[in-house]
């Protein structure tokens, strides 16, 4: 859309983009580029930082942990989010509004407050352990914090809204008449679910899953509070290298790997879903 009266000069409007552009160049592009360049210049020029990172079992373990936790978190949130989003799309709107309010409340509650709640709930003497013991599922308190179990639980808690909301958007747009047609065609509920509803919801599941996976890969706060130092993920590795060890080369290299994976998945997301939407 273009205004008739303001003539369409070429290049017009570029000036208005300048403040944002300069800000991002000075305090985003140059610093990030600087960090990445240090991965091949420190301590000496070369690729030795990457060789160390990808050549040692300790560091590979960290990448493995990161992908494992992100994958698990994605899988679990998808399994919960699909029925929830589906229910929200067809429930009486008053009930749905209550559930939405709870989702938004949890989303907007301070991240540290939520993580704190899980640290308390999951500790050795915490409520979760006591309930599990009281119901006879376990005899001894199990270790639920300072390991990947705690990280996974805490991250599922944080990521659930990011999966439910886009998936809800996709399911809500499906015309109920298409499922009525499926029923009249003779499909049982199971057949209609498998052959019609799930395929139609797949774009939403895939796009939500990619988003949750990408966000999980670079997450720092929850893994470092619930995971402990023995079960590091990539974001913690970067911080540790830079803050505790002052090893900017290694930190930069780990950041570079994380950045490449993130941007690649992001590009995949754009290709898969933006193209279709237009």
């Amino acid at each position: 859309m273009l205004s008739f009266l303001t003539p369409a000069r070429r290049g017009s409007g570029l000036g208005m983009a300048m403040p944002a552009l300069l800000l991002l160049l000075a305090f985003f592009v140059i610093p990030v580029a600087g960090l990445l360049s240090r991965s091949v210049t420190e301590p000496v020029a070369g690729l030795q930082n990457y060789e160390t990172l990808l050549g040692s079992a300790t560091y590979l373990r960290i990448f493995f942990n990161t992908f494992l936790v992100s994958g698990l978190v994605t899988l679990i949130t998808a399994l919960i989010a699909f029925p929830v989003a589906w229910a929200l799309a067809i429930m009486p709107s008053r009930v749905a509004a209550v559930v939405f309010a709870i989702i938004l409340l949890s989303m907007w509650t301070n991240l540290l407050a939520r993580t704190y709640a899980w640290m308390v709930l999951l500790q050795q003497t915490g409520l979760v352990n006591r309930i599990l013991m009281a119901t006879g599922i376990i005899d001894q308190p199990v270790q639920l914090t300072n390991n990947l179990v705690g990280v996974t639980i805490g991250m599922v808690y944080i990521m659930l809204p990011f999966m439910i909301l886009p998936l809800y958007g996709v399911i809500k747009k499906i015309d109920p008449a298409i499922l009525q047609a499926a029923a009249l065609c003779g499909a049982t509920k199971g057949q209609a679910l498998r052959r019609v509803l799930l395929p139609l919801a797949t774009p939403g599941i895939a796009s939500g899953a990619l988003m949750v996976f990408v966000m999980s890969l670079g997450y720092f706060v929850t893994p470092s509070l619930l995971g402990g130092t023995a079960n590091m993920m990539v974001a913690e590795l970067i911080v540790q290298q830079v803050q505790s060890l002052l090893n900017w080369g290694m930190g930069g290299a780990a950041a570079f790997i994380l950045l490449v994976v993130t941007l690649a998945l992001y590009a995949l997301q754009l290709r898969l879903f933006e193209g279709r939407a237009r």
Binding site: D175, A177, I178, Q180, A181, A182, A183, L184, C185, G186, A187, T188, K189, Q191, A192, R195, V196, P199, L200, T202
Partner: protein
Amino acid sequence: MTSPYLHINGIRKTFGDVVATDHVELEIGEGEFMTFLGPSGSGKSTTLYILAGFQDPTAGDIRLRGKSILQTPSHKRNIGMVFQRYTLFPHLSVGENVAFPLRVRRASQAEIATKVKRALSLVRLDGFEDRMPANMSGGQQQRVALARALVYDPPVLLMDEPLSALDKKLREEIQYEIRRIHQQTGVTILYVTHDQEEALRLSDRIAVFNRGRIEQVGTGPELYASPATHFVADFIGDSAFLTGELAEVKNGRATLRYADGTVLTDVPMHGVGARGGKAELMLRPERIDLSDAAGPQGASLPVTIEDVTFLGNNSAVTARTGWGDPLYIRLNFGHPMMGSVSRGDRLHVRWQPQDAHAFTKE
């Protein structure tokens, strides 16, 4: 006594305080093309949804070949349906869409292949198997939907305003196709529309819906020639209504008196009218003649011409009765009065006695 093929027996459906349909009673014969005609909110779609099993009636029953189908869930009713909106499965090809009902019935590959081919051929879409619905026009999509609804030989095919999203030309083309498919397959069709022309063109019989009830059931010519109510007269064909006082009713014949003293006798009367109440005379513009001389008593009125508009194959004439009501007349090209009639002329309208109908006015 044999039971009717499809019996809609006293269906009533309420949503809270709103009555959607009330005492809908209809018998439909095997192979019949029955249309539910009415304005939106008249209960025609609700009746169809109850047949499909999308809604449960508050009271009443639906019997197919004498057996109630209300307890059967939609997916076991074996009924075919074409919807108002495009409801092809967007992730499946045309071939897979049509194959869907057969796949969920676990038909063999060979059976699926032959039946899909036959169904697509029936709607003249041979060779479209691999197309995706998104790459087809609305008319083509609805034809695929028709093939999908017919591929499992349903005892009844429901069609819920299937052409309302299409433009006029395409609509007429597919109406013709639907007629041909009905004749070719002999399937019983229940068709919902608010378009009287579509209803007249397609149906064996029409049920006219208004405010949740059926006002009249009959063939198109029956509804046109002897409408049972004001609503039917107004909905099917063009009509003019002249309101006057009911002077007398005897043996289904009425005498009407108008403000300027005009009296019309021996008009066929519908509905119960009390002497002294109001009644209206219904005339069809194309069934009225214009003449210099008055006709027989009860089938003629003096009028003053107000306006004449030439429309090609006919002329639309606006006249005013002695008591001031407007009356529209259509003169076909070649009518002796066509060139001569002009504004201000005092003439007489005349009609055949069986073309006029009187209705009580509430």
